[in-house]
């Protein structure tokens, strides 16, 4: 194992993989990615693969819009079919309040140049004919949203990064970080120490624990989200559907499988990754309320992943106050996969040139000293 590296990235999820590639592409190639298990073994490999731009905060919308642009050319750039489908996202609302929130969200999104629009229930049914609109008050739709295969994306990023000289150390756990003065001077792993130039904390739900090793508290909390996938059926939905009423999301993969989940509002923070019957019953009930035709479709498998949730549901990006070579790249609150290509570019530009973008300034750890308006639509 290398004993020194210009950049040590902790975590081989989509953030770590994308950043490794973006650094290598800029000529920063003495990069080591440390992964406790294997690439995609955390939230990235457990997520629904949705790529949405219809958010309610300026930064989330901007990062997502930049990412969609990158996702559009990523397959060609990495030489991997990432199964990117831009079939749009249809967001459902069932109350007057939710409709008003949608109207405001679309206004902000349109101001930022996103082609989202508010739809009547009938217009929503034109996009997804199997949708039962009995309880639907309104919907929003953005045709450039979509979904992709997280495994292919991470494989693609890592393959290119490694071709350019990046080293991936899987089954290598970070056990301690040693800060001295204003720097982390040593990363201790289960396979020996590394002297880092910079350390990037891309450990997802474990970011808080990693950060604590350096004596830095993050406001992030791990929260379980469960998900399920069905047998494949004939392709009938290009669009990905989510609801701000109950937090459900579902889409159809290239394989024809319906993948989706629903957040349970009383889920307590923690590292519980078990699968529950309660989730499957709730998800089935809400899914069939929206698409009754799926009643006889069989669930093949369910699992869980951990959202790394911040108080405002926006990521924490950039250097840590007091520890300038410790870069945070976490806190995605369930939206890491969809914004990773943009996040990686912002962070790689900072690491290369030392200049923070406006987004990095706004999304630094320091913001939690002040009160800030958070993301309202925390769904897949």
């Amino acid at each position: 194992m290398r004993r020194t590296a210009d950049v040590v990235i902790i975590g081989a999820g989509v953030t770590g993989a994308a950043l490794a590639y973006e650094l290598a592409r800029r000529g920063i190639r003495n990069v080591v990615v440390l992964e406790r298990r294997f690439p995609c073994s955390g939230a990235t490999g457990r997520c629904g693969g949705g790529i949405r731009q219809q958010f309610t905060t300026t930064h989330n919308i901007r990062l997502a819009m930049e990412s969609v642009e990158h996702y559009g050319t990523l397959a060609e750039e990495l030489g991997v079919d990432i199964e990117f489908i831009q079939g749009g996202y249809l967001i459902l609302a069932e109350t007057e309040e939710e409709r008003e929130a949608q109207r405001k969200a679309v206004a902000l999104q349109n101001d930022l140049g996103l082609p989202s629009r508010l739809l009547t229930p009938e217009e929503a049914a034109e996009i997804l004919p199997l949708l039962d609109i009995t309880t639907i008050k309104s919907a929003t739709y953005c045709p450039t949203d979509g979904h992709a295969n997280p495994f292919r994306v991470v494989e693609g990023y890592l393959r290119r990064a490694r071709e350019l000289g990046v080293v991936l150390e899987k089954f290598t756990e970070v056990v301690d970080l040693e800060p001295r003065g204003e720097r982390i001077v040593e990363v201790r792993t289960s396979r020996g120490p590394i002297s880092p130039g910079l350390v990037v904390n891309a450990a997802g739900a474990w970011s808080g624990e990693i950060s604590r090793m350096a004596g830095v508290e993050l406001p992030n909390k791990p929260v379980r989200h469960e998900i399920a996938i069905t047998e494949p059926v004939e392709f009938f939905m290009e669009v990905m559907v989510i609801s701000i009423h109950n937090g459900i999301y579902f889409s159809q993969t290239m394989e024809g499988q319906i993948i989706g989940g629903i957040g349970l509002p009383d889920e307590r923070p923690g590292y519980n990754l078990s699968s529950s019957l309660r989730f499957l019953r709730t998800y089935s009930r809400e899914l069939l309320r929206y698409v009754p035709a799926l009643g006889q479709l069989s669930v093949l498998r369910q699992w869980a992943g951990l959202y790394d949730v911040t108080p405002d549901a926006q990521p924490i990006l950039g250097p840590t106050p007091g520890l300038e070579n410790f870069i945070q790249a976490n806190g995605y609150s369930g939206h890491g996969f969809m914004i990773a290509p943009a996040v990686a570019r912002h962070l790689a530009d900072y690491i290369e040139k030392g200049v923070k973008s406006e987004i990095l300034e706004k999304l630094s750890l320091e913001r939690f000293k002040e009160e800030i308006r958070g993301e309202a639509f925390v769904v897949g």
Binding site: P232, S284, Q302
Partner: protein, 99 residues
Amino acid sequence: MTHASRVTRQEPKDEPIVCRCEEVTLPEVVQAIREGYDTVEELKRHLRVGMGPCQGRTCLPLLARVLARETGRSLAEVMEEISTRPPLIPIPFEVWRGK
């Protein structure tokens, strides 16, 4: 609803099949192991082996043997890495929903 998986649309393959549901062949498995996907869980995610309707009941023991042979690890060690996810057989949404 018509079930039509990717597999049924493909041309039949000549090589020995390890995973029938996802139609993954022995040479594909061996190549993936040599590329560094050298645990059961990584192979599942890379090749989709074991992720079809049988949920790996047929193929994962075969896969484990290939993996043990290729990596020189013991079969018991390789088998221990296998994780399972409920439900163990496909069950329709309307059954989960109940009445």
